[in-house]
Symmetry: C2
Subunit: 96 residues, 2 copies
DNA sequence: AAATTTGGTTTATAAAATAAACTTGTTTAT
DNA sequence: ATAAACAAGTTTATTTTATAAACCAAATTT
């Protein structure tokens, strides 16, 4: 009845990151930080987890002289995100 | 942009319990256990948390000679659940 | 009457989230 | 030129959660 929710996505911050990346092709660390309101430390950790899961890729470079970390969602990430959304709807729609 | 998700509801098992109770007036422990597939221990703990939050009430009685624990969602729980669902939609719909 | 099942609770362990502190380098002010 | 402040993160430590394992009391079955 209730499908298992991908624990990697069932996290407020990781979900927000994925939600942003789902609509935007790429986003860098500071942008994600601003949009989510997360602390840098927390964001760094959660980005690592999404990367380890193969849901996003991280590219490190420089914008001028400042370091810049760019994130993109992978196809695997898109699929996982889609499935998570579907699963979640089961939980939410059970009410009506 | 991303509303805070009520941490009490952003839990797979507690969400499932609330989702069931949202549609059903009352449900007892064993029913919830069966429907969610949770272990009794986990369910007991999570029911306690929902009770402590005032989201559900627990009534203990007997069905014949066997103990029976009946759960109901409170108005506060309904409101919190509704808000949570709304908040969550923000996360999910940001993608499209 | 011994073993099993029901309906749980309590306690212990593992995993996550979060924050605080630290690092490396850059820009700005002195 | 150097000290102070800031940017962009990472690492480590702390707190909170989730989950499972162990336990308990009473009822039922063999």
């Amino acid at each position: 009845m209730f499908p298992k929710l991908d624990p990697l996505l069932h996290s407020e911050l990781r979900l927000a990151v994925m939600s942003i990346l789902a609509g935007v092709d790429e986003a860098d660390f500071t942008y994600l930080k601003k949009q989510t309101g997360a602390t840098a430390g927390n964001l760094s950790v959660q980005i690592d987890k999404l990367t380890a899961a193969g849901y996003i890729t991280v590219e490190k470079g420089f914008k001028g002289k400042m370091p810049r970390t760019t994130c993109r969602m992978t196809p695997a990430g898109q699929e996982a995100f889609g499935k998570y959304v579907e699963a979640l709807r089961e939980y939410l729609s059970a009410s009506k």
